[in-house]
Amino acid sequence: MIDLHPASVARLLSAPPEQGTSLAAHRAHFGPLPPPGEAGLIDPVTRSGLRGRGGAGFPTGRKIAAVAAQPTSRRPVVVANGCEGEPVSGKDHVLLELAPHLVLDGALAVATALGADEVLLCLHRGDPIVPSVRAATAERQEGRTVRVVEVPRRYAASEESALVNFINTGMARPTAKPPRPFERGVGGHPTMIANVETLAHVALIARYGPDWFRAAGTADSPGTTLVTVGGAVAYPGVLEVALGVPLGAVLEMAGGLTGPAQALLVGGVGGGWLPADRALGVRLEHAELRAAGAALGVGTIFAMPAGVCGVTETARVASYLAGESARQCGPCMFGLPAVAGDLWALSNAAEDPATIVPRLRRRLGLLPGRGACGHPDGFARFVRGALDTFADDFGNHAYGRPCPGGGRPWLPLPTAGDPTPAGWQ
């Protein structure tokens, strides 16, 4: 018997794993998905305060309502996003492995509410979970098409307009807005795109209602959330926690720190770094993490141990993200590699820091709001936060003083993909 930490709340992951993940086992545990009551689905989801779990945290009820408000001549499409583009996140995989039918319940409930006759579930191409998710979708052909779409494994390929672009044209690069997918998405139809965890919460709200949902979490960020905990903790992995718990409590649930930590990377590489001494008391919720300089994002918490170099890690992440630019918008295509180059120049003490630092700051100011998607914005936020969090490390590097990290890489990052358009097909 595993001792559950008091902050642990099992909702999405409450089904006993020994029963398996079949539709019958799912229904035995959660009960059947009830037909929408008088209030429909949009109203309870809106009142629940559910915010998207794919990174941006947009209110889900408002998003469904925006699709529902489109002219009715074209039937909406529902897209469940299970790509999990954040390289340090594993929560969507765990959810799809343990509770695929909860995700499908949510997607089908939204499809019913919108009168959609197609549900598309997006996964990374070649992902090992594809066969089991396909098997689950095969059990759910309930009068509307439910199918799996395999998307290239690129960081920006699971951005909403990129998913729509891929489904429509085979090219998984973001497109200019407007139109946004809720106006004109898959096949030109209004399209509701939601992260798979978001949809699983919708499935529970449809069963138990908004008040039940709000019994966990905070007013700003209600409910539970899946978190991926990694780095210098005893038991790295995916946990379900109530939003609003302090980051330190989440680390304890993962067995606690294995040694002194310098900083926490919160919200993935789309989030930001927080110095460890200040971070442990920060609560896991949108408003408080933003105020602290990170973001809830997809709910990852990575503890960076002593002896890892913040400058090198930041330069590594910057190079990875620069390589993941879709190379469509000039400021992203040229600006990200330029900033990554500045970071490596600081890391290697290759140039006078009095030259590099002002240039780096100026370049960071040229990124936000200048791409078709938020990729350059997230990149700039991440690097800015790193300059503050690792100010001492940057100072040591820039003046050639010894670095405790010795250049050893720490954060597990994939190698960046093919930069040519073929890498996005």
């Binding site: 497109t175 200019a176 469509q328 918008c329 000039g330 400021p331 992203c332 040229f334 600006g335 330029a338 370049r363 040229l366 200048r370 791409g371 078709a372």
Partner: protein, 77 residues
């Protein structure tokens, strides 16, 4: 007339730089040759020049669009 501001389709823009030549009062180019646009409305005295810059963009990437609520309007006449 309603206030309008300059916007660029960042995918269509290929850094010809014509806009900055036609409208240097409002448009700077970054170090890679892409326009940096003011978030505020185009002042009235420059509306004709802004329209020329939009028409002159070889990539058809520049446009004038309505200023959304909440964006500061230039006080420049």
């Amino acid at each position: 007339m309603n206030a309008r501001r300059l916007q660029v389709d960042p995918i269509a823009c290929t850094a010809h730089g014509v806009c900055a030549e036609l409208l240097p009062e409002l448009i700077d180019l970054d170090e890679w040759g892409y326009p940096v646009l003011p978030a505020t409305a185009v002042p009235r005295r420059l509306t004709a020049a802004a329209a020329r810059a939009v028409a002159g963009c070889p990539a058809l990437a520049l446009r004038l669009s309505a200023v959304p609520a909440g964006v500061a309007r230039s006080t420049d006449p």
